[in-house]
Symmetry: C2
Amino acid sequence: MPKVSQDYLEAQRAELLEGARRCFAAYGYEEATVVRLEEATGRSRGAIFHHFPTKLDLFLAVLERDAEREAARWASGSVADVLAGLAAEDPDWASVVIEQSRRRRTDPSFRRRWSRRTDLVRTALRALVARERTAARLAPAIPDEVAARFISVVGDGLLLQRAILGEVPHAREVIDLAAGALGQDQGAVTPRG
Amino acid sequence: MPKVSQDYLEAQRAELLEGARRCFAAYGYEEATVVRLEEATGRSRGAIFHHFPTKLDLFLAVLERDAEREAARWASGSVADVLAGLAAEDPDWASVVIEQSRRRRTDPSFRRRWSRRTDLVRTALRALVARERTAARLAPAIPDEVAARFISVVGDGLLLQRAILGEVPHAREVIDLAAGALGQDQGAVTPRG
């Protein structure tokens, strides 16, 4: 038997996860049946579940691959680029991610398994904030953790509206407002009256 | 038989919807079974489904009542007050609303039935923006519809994080940043470089 290269295996895995992502996006997590996953990935159930023992494992692997892509994009772009990426996410996939996200709070074992994604995104977000700080695009009065939280709140809002509306009206202007807010000292950390 | 007053009927309806809201929040939409709805509302299934032919009708009625409350709150508060209200929403209920919201995009009949809530919120949001404009707390360069969209994106982000995390870290600072962004001219509507 020919020796299968690592690259080949990784390409195969990427292809499988891409098909699974499309399937989850098209049918939602619950309705992504084994038969549909077979169709979307072009693999037998044996081949799929050899690598991912359960549908949840497969879903989490897709999510993690997504987070890696996201983190890579965030490694060089600006706040506006990051937010624009979320506003342009596949609406169906955004829906699935959002519908599952609640389980993070209500299901501790799921939260642990979701944590690799959370860690990747958190690290990328922290690096983004540090970069903006160095470039003096972040007002000195705004602490790092507030800036990171603000970006993630706006990002989640864009992702949710993408899932609900398909197209977020005025997305670019909204993103510019958000990015601009971080650059201006506006007494954000002083107590409100 | 005694004549039942309109007030009494409305109080009964409010009580029923409050119980249903708790039940949906505790179990999610799918798992809110008839038996559980009976327990949570203290009403028989006959009494519940006399007023609301299906579970979906009941859910939409809860949603609409919620939107009325929201709109009432928005009728006098500031942008920061509105956002703070969303960040303080019951996390379980926020989850249910979010999980169902995808259906707005994917199910036209559901979208039509959800529209009363959308209309209430949209009108309240428009009034809020007009009030901020009159009070000169909205930068002249920011068009009304951009301001409204920005508020709704940040609000949805807070609601989603409330559903995921339970508590949104630095919520007040994030809200102050968002409210401040609307007050400052930062070239939000000029093209990005």
